[in-house]
Amino acid sequence: MRLLGAFVTLSLCVYHANAATAGFIKSPLSLMKLIDDSGQLHCEVIGNPIPEVQWWFIEGEEPDETYIQLFDGARDDRVRINATYVQHATSTLYLSDLTLNDTGMYECRASNDPHRNELKKTPKIKWIRSQANVLVFETADILANPESVVNQTSAILNCTITNPPSPIKGSYWTKNGDKIKGTETESVSSITMYTLDKIGNTDGGVYACVFQTEPQSEKNIEVKTPPHVKPYKESEHGNEDDKGVLVCVSHSYPPPTDWTWYKLAENKEKEAISNGTARYEIKSQPNKTTLYIHALDIKTDMGDYQCQGTNELGNAVGKIHLRVRSRLAALWPFLGIVAEVIVLITIIFIYEKKRKPDEITDDDDSGSAPLKSNAATNHKDKNVRQRNSN
């Protein structure tokens, strides 16, 4: 097939001396995907005039193969084709929700012959073609034990894979998508294990065992803990009449669904702060909550605040101490320093006035005495001479 294509291209070159015949600058690459995954094949062709690109699906084995052309929206809208014809032709074939039946050979065909689509004429010119294989595998069955960990102090996570799509080359574990160091192994075993000795409330997350097969197989195990709540800064400062910002964060899984703020009075009583009242504003995200206090008052707003985060397994609190600086707090050090500067300058000037007389004359005399005397003698001589002449 390919040899024929090459021969055709060669003869095309000979035939069309002036125009540039179509040629592939990018050929589609083979894919290996799992069921329900998606993939794309990309093809780029140059030629003058710009060639047309088509996608064909080859079903069956030689010599009984059947060719089916693919169009945008084929296979119940799972096939999309995006083509551009600017300067050169590019075409991308998108396959979504892959099924086992999508496995097969896909062909990118291109031709810029003006008579390429005329079926009545004996097709002198064949299309140039480039092929790529798409293999769709069944997702491997991975048995996770336990399927999820809820509110436990320790756990051992197990994964067993049955019917891997290809031989297992190794495995590792991830937490929230990041590879966990030290869990990588090149063992071809279909069983892998990860131990969590102590599950604190920051150790929760979506863990996954990953088997290095072609393509990769993995299974998630959720580890859920009660919430973890921590103030971003335990001691916050604010300026009088300014805006105060108090922040609490959470690194637990699942993240808190509800956040509430309280102001702690001296008698340990809590007073709930609600959003939108008076000067308070609360902005919450799953893992962060912010309390804004507008126009801080030094008498009433100073003190301890408590943030509480709640998820399906319980709640946790964090405490922040807010200090309100009076507007004049910095004024005293400033005045102190200015006073010190003035005092020092006064001392220096007084000292200078007292020492002024002796310093200058010494310098002058030592430096220029000899020269001065010479000038004096010259001067005197000249004067004497002139007076005499007059």
Binding site: A330, E359, T361, S368
Partner: protein, 474 residues
């Protein structure tokens, strides 16, 4: 044997006594000028949060401050030429103080640009130039030592201001801290008060009642001419009274300018990138910060020690070579830096770089005074800062671009190293010729003087003989 440049001073500088108090004053002024803009970066995060602005908008404050500092150089020189160092430094201190106090009430970033950037920058420029100038007026024999000590102010102040600013920021917030810093920086006025001007008693030869005899005029011109010879009247003449533009015809000065412009392209960038390079080499934040502290500590001691070394009788006459070699040594450090492996290698580099940086900084203004003389130093340094501001401001961004393009710090270090080596070698070669030509000119001048002296003696002998005959006749 290279001869030292003429001092052109009418008096012998005291070389001690109150001079050391002046050095202390300069220490404070120089320390504030160099360290203050760099230490303000600690507040940027809080200001950014307050005004909800991007980092580049905040970074403009530093750039404007530095630019104003350089632009203010010539203005500062003119004022020093006219009024002397003390009033200019005190004015500068007050300006920075007012600028900082005003900025503590700022309601937008633009206010910060103006108050901290423009006013603060100009105020610091009014501190830097006079502080450098007055050392030349007070010291001749021990000048390199004095310069080295004064320049040590920069690293000392940087090491103290950095933690102080952190503490102020935590305790008072940025507004309160700016207010307090405004007061703190007024200590420059104290430094200015220390810079007692040297008062020169007016000479008899300047006495205009002399009968316009030729000899009188010659004598007065030789001894008291501190400005450049004023022959033509007009605009150029008036400009020259304020700032000495004839410096651009001074051979040594031109050599200094060209060498420095080349050198400054690669001078500051390695300092800026030291911590970043360390982090790039997988060093944690604290150790990277420690590198900078090591660098600053070594720098602090290298400057006075370099001053001391430069003062010795072997180095002083050849100080230009010493300077060129330190510049070249800097370049060598940078070229070898990419070969440093691991944290230990970086520490070694930081130590050597600290020594190199300190050497160049300590000698930077000493060699300028050595070339043009203390009298013209003020104008020289003003013109130099405004010309050097281009490579100083462009150097770090260009190096940053190099790092971005090649994604590798080695090329930036090579580039900086090469720039400094080229600058150093240029200075070395040109100064060798300059010394030679200066020696030739010196011998020619001596010959001319001897001939003149001989002729004058003959004239005097002739005139005294006439006098005797006149008197005997009368």
């Amino acid at each position: 044997m290279p001869s030292p440049a003429p001092t052109n001073l009418d008096y012998t500088p005291p070389d001690g006594g109150w001079g050391w108090a002046v050095v202390f004053g300069s220490f404070i002024s120089i320390g504030f000028s160099y360290a203050f803009p760099k230490s303000l970066t600690i507040y940027y995060k809080e200001i950014q949060r307050y005004f909800l602005s991007s980092y580049s908008e905040i970074a403009w404050v530093s750039s404007i401050m530095l630019a104003s500092m350089y632009a203010g150089g010539p203005v500062s020189s003119i004022l020093v030429n006219r009024y002397g160092s003390r009033p200019v430094v005190m004015t500068g201190g007050v300006m920075v103080g007012i600028g900082m106090v005003a900025s503590s009430f700022a309601t937008s970033i633009t206010h910060l640009y103006i108050c901290v950037g423009v006013i603060g920058g100009f105020g610091l420029a009014f501190n830097l130039q006079p502080a450098l100038t007055i050392i030349g007026k007070y010291f001749q024999v021990k000048r390199p030592m004095a310069n080295g000590l004064a320049m040590a102010g920069s690293p000392v102040f940087l090491s103290t201001l950095a933690p102080l600013n952190q503490f102020l920021c935590d305790s008072f917030g940025w507004r309160g801290s700016f207010l307090i810093l405004g007061g703190f920086v007024m200590n420059c006025c104290v430094a200015g008060a220390l810079m007692r001007p040297i008062r020169v008693k007016p000479r008899m030869s300047l006495d205009p009642t002399a009968n316009g005899a030729k000899n009188d005029k010659e004598v007065s011109d030789e001894k008291t001419s501190t400005k450049s010879p004023v022959e033509k009247t007009g605009c150029a003449d008036r400009v020259n009274k304020f700032i000495d533009l004839s410096l651009f015809r001074h051979r040594g000065y031109l050599i200094y300018l060209v060498g420095n412009v080349i050198m400054f392209f690669g001078f500051f960038a390695p300092v800026v990138f030291l911590a970043l390079y360390a982090k790039h080499m997988q060093v944690d934040e604290y150790s990277a910060a420690l590198l900078l502290s090591i660098f600053a500590l070594v720098d602090m001691f290298a400057r006075p020690i370099t001053g001391l070394v430069a003062n010795t009788k072997w180095i002083r006459p050849r100080i230009q070579y010493f300077f060129s070699l330190s510049v070249a040594y800097n370049g060598l450090c940078h070229i070898l830096c990419p070969f440093a492996t691991g944290y230990g290698g970086l520490v070694v580099y930081a130590v050597f770089f600290g020594v190199a940086f300190g050497m160049v900084c300590a000698l930077l203004f000493e060699v300028l005074t050595d070339l043009v003389g203390p009298q013209r130093f003020s104008s020289a340094v003003g013109l130099a800062t405004i010309i050097e501001c281009a490579p100083v401001l462009l150097g770090p961004p260009i190096s940053g671009a190099l790092v971005d393009i090649f994604d590798d710090y080695s090329y930036m270090y090579y580039a900086c190293g090469v720039m400094m080596l080229v600058g150093g070698i240029f200075l070395l070669i040109m100064n060798y010729y300059n010394y030679k030509w200066l020696a030739q000119e010196e011998t020619q001048r001596r010959q001319l003087e001897e001939e003149k002296g001989a002729m004058e003696e003959l004239k005097e002998m002739g005139s005294s003989a006439e006098n005797e005959t006149d008197e005997t006749l009368a």
